[in-house]
Symmetry: C2
């Protein structure tokens, strides 16, 4: 619309359904789809453009004044945005918990936006409200396995909720701990409850100095955000088993008792089912015992690992999850639903009343509006994506997906172990693992391990960066304290196997690329020199 002026007619046109399949908008959409297909069939990064260069394209703080044709803008998006995005569908993108999605989600996305329901209240969602409740019921069933009478009583009850749908695992964790806090510091004779009186008064009323949250060092960073947000304070984030990947129940018990003995109480123990960095699973069943003994809430963060419950082979890894008071699950991780589908599930369907709220124009008392007990207000119908995935893939489909991810991770771990120049750091419990480049000649040296590790850290970091920049594949990196190196903190490659299209051949190629990058890197030569090893 060069030199075009905004007109009501133009505006009405963009709000009016295109009538023909071959309309302008359809052609634009086809063009976008073709380009998208092309992009998604390429490497992780299509173009080696630096962040600083890209920033130049998104630098203007001024509002565009005149309207632009959709076709012109679509072209702009393709050249400036799409080509400089990350291809999270690539089978060689194995660095984060984002993966390829089933393609039917693209069609569903149109339906979702086309309907544009708002699930805060029935008046703007109608059938989506029962649907979301059913999805929460199915997921509750997956975790807690209650009987049919339980679900028929609670699934559609205005006084109950089996969980809260939300944008992601962080809000899910915050919601769970918010409910836990309000239930712990509830109203009692002479006290109106933390929700009304606030946290400082609640501590007085309950005679405690502080509330603590116990988790392992591998707990997700959202737990820190949650205790900050809820007013509990990051100082009261108590880490047990700090040099281990999982919580030791005896240590948790001792830590909890010591903390309580100092005039404090415990808000919750958080067990993780699939840590973000290494995929470990805490001993949930034993932690449930400890929580019971300490008299505190038991939350399980299963944002990543929850989907393991679909697998009859591996579900046992999460034994005890059914004893949790609340469980976080992200459908946008191993359930292959687009970004934005988190949930908290509550064992007790009445407990979320601890955060129940009302308004005059919606969420009136007795209504089935979902917004009465959620942290978020307006929300879209993302639950439909979960509902559809559950139907199109089925429990048996998810089972296959989970099983093959874990199998592939094990094969990759064996491949790393067998390779003379790599070192497996954490073996996969679920489908995550960590490792590093550690050439055979160095492994054979018996030098000062701290100094060697420092150099290996630099090399690992350099390889990861170089591989990312080359754009063919992507693994991430993190730093972990490792027992067998006297709890030194090591920089490691972090791999998340989730994309069903990732093959063993892809994994082998990624490893080979890393070895090549390493051997061509100046740090490699330096490393060998410094360690006085001689290359024959």
């Amino acid at each position: 619309m060069s030199n075009a002026e905004a007109s009501l007619e133009h505006l009405f046109r963009v709000f009016t359904m295109p009538e023909h399949h071959d309309s302008t908008l359809s052609r634009i959409e086809q063009h976008l789809s073709d380009n998208l297909s092309d992009f998604l069939s390429r490497h992780v990064v299509a173009k080696q453009t630096s962040l600083e260069e890209i920033e130049q394209d998104f630098n203007d703080p001024h509002l565009p004044v005149q309207p632009e044709f959709v076709s012109t803008h679509a072209e702009h998006l393709l050249t400036k945005l799409v080509t400089n995005s990350v291809n999270t569908y690539a089978p060689t993108f194995i660095g984060h918990m984002t993966s390829a999605l089933p393609y039917f989600h693209l069609s569903l996305a149109k339906l979702l936006v086309g309907l544009n329901q708002n699930l805060v209240k029935i008046e703007t969602s109608k059938a989506f409200t029962p649907l979301e409740r059913q999805v929460l019921g199915m997921m509750h069933n997956l975790v807690f396995q209650q009987d049919d009478a339980f679900y028929s009583q609670h699934l559609h009850s205005a006084q109950h909720s089996l969980g809260a749908f939300c944008s992601g695992g962080t809000v899910a964790n915050v919601t769970a701990l918010w409910v836990a806090r309000n239930a712990k510091l509830a109203a009692k004779p002479g006290f109106k409850g933390v929700s009304h009186a606030g946290l400082a008064s609640a501590y007085q009323a309950y005679g405690i100095n502080n509330l603590g949250l116990i988790s392992s060092k591998r707990g997700h960073y959202s737990l820190g955000k949650a205790v900050d947000l809820l007013g509990i304070g990051r100082n009261n984030m108590l880490y047990a088993s700090v040099d281990s990947h999982t919580l030791d129940p005896a240590e948790v018990l001792a830590l909890g008792k010591a903390y309580q003995a100092q005039g404090n109480d415990l808000l919750a123990i958080v067990g993780v089912a699939g840590t973000t960095e290494t995929g470990h699973v805490d001993p949930l069943d034993e932690l449930a015992d400890v929580a019971q003994e300490l008299g505190c809430w038991f939350h399980v963060d299963a944002a990543w690992g929850g989907a393991t419950l679909f697998s009859d082979t591996h579900r046992g890894l999460l034994k005890g999850i059914e004893r949790a008071d609340s469980v976080t699950l992200d459908a946008h991780k191993q359930m292959y639903v687009p970004m934005g589908a988190g949930m908290t599930l509550f064992k007790d369907p009445a407990i979320s009343s601890a955060v129940r709220h009302h308004a005059q124009y919606i969420l009136r008392k007795g209504s089935k509006d979902l917004g009465s007990t959620t942290l978020e207000g307006s929300r879209n119908g993302m639950a439909m994506m979960v509902y559809s995935s559950l139907h199109v893939l089925g429990k048996s489909g998810y089972e296959l997906l989970i099983d093959q991810s874990i199998d592939k991770a094990k094969v990759f771990a064996d491949m790393i172990t067998a390779h003379p120049d790599f070192e497996l750091i954490t073996a996969p419990t679920l489908s995550l693992l960590t490792y590093r480049y550690n050439p055979a000649v160095i492994q054979a040296c018996s030098g000062d391990s701290e100094a060697i590790n420092e150099q290996l850290d630099k090399l690992t970091k350099a390889i990861q960066k170089k591989q990312r920049e080359a754009g063919k594949s992507f693994v991430s990196r993190t730093r972990l304290s490792i027992n067998r190196y006297e709890n030194q903190c090591l920089t490691v490659f972090r791999v998340v196997i989730a994309n069903p299209l990732t093959t063993v051949a892809h994994l082998a190629a990624i490893l080979e690329e890393q070895a090549e990058i390493a051997q061509a890197h100046p740090l490699y030569v330096e490393l060998l020199k410094a360690q006085e090893c001689i290359i024959v």
Copy 2:
């Protein structure tokens, strides 16, 4: 897939890009689109099905075991979900802040899901990170109008953020108040700050009993959630000007001073730019003075009304918003972007460091990852929808949309005033208004106003319900305390004019339908009898 078994081959197929335009998936998508078009061209509610009946379709808490063909499932969605949804695109759906969307968003939705970027970190978003920062910059510019040097310094700075993108206004309000709380109770010699030490210790360190939040009774219910969540407590939600639709600055000042004199301090004053129920705008400029005098944060909840700033004609209504410390805006309201596009904007680009957090595997110190200062973790690329809308509609397009909504609301208000059997309760400041059915014969009676109002409440509620159930149009209802009825609380119709396709003729028809429903209703006859008015 009747009797089909899950197979890896089937699973790979759903993850593999369909190759031909006329592939099965394309045909399914076309079928979904055709049905969607059909649905969106109908009335507000396509079928008069009760919620209880719909619940029967979404009642099964068991996981589907076997996979289902996408085509079979699509049919199921159409018959069970789509037909029983609410047509928020209908020009006669004028009851909530959800409206028709420009159709290009349907194509963009495919792109968004197809790319499935995660904006928590650059490694899974790349160009989307600079894009989101630019959108925040443009919106910051719309509100705060800083100079180019300001934006060129802060737009892409790792140490700064001009705001936080989030799923909606509630998270935006919570984020703003979280930052305000942490900035207020910051670290100082001998105290590590509320973020670390928690709220109870912070109150001690700062020698205060409580922190209060001042807003009007028309403030959004998310403010109550925020003070609950943040540990401040709903008792410290201080309402000023309780019998008015807007805050009186003098009252706010007096209330604040009295509260401070009791050993408390103020977290913030919240001014609303477009209240959810009536669309009123608080006197922002004067409230900024009061906040300054009381030494507290000034937050403006412009979730609805913020887009008014696009209009040169009406932007003056929000005078003083540029003096706020933080501003909430929902692009999924008057910016016509799909559900899930909220943001908080900060006047001071350094202030969000009050909630900055890090992790080893992402959000490392010095990174430009957007997740370092957001409440949410993983987030999708919804900012693209805002970016595209800003370009395709332009500032001048938005201006036209805002202007015609406000104009139409005024025309509708005149129509109500002119109608003998309706009573305008609150006139539109922006494009919201409230009214009720109050027949001329009753208006002429001089009976006990409380008893009459009670009956009118019942009738208004009954009309609203009947009209909603009939499915042709939808207005919402709420309860408001009204000055000219000695602050009695009245049940009123609530109207939100947002859909550009809503015409004056639609509005007239909605009013006529209400009059017809009223006169056929048993409560109407009862009302006349009880008031001893005689119908000639």
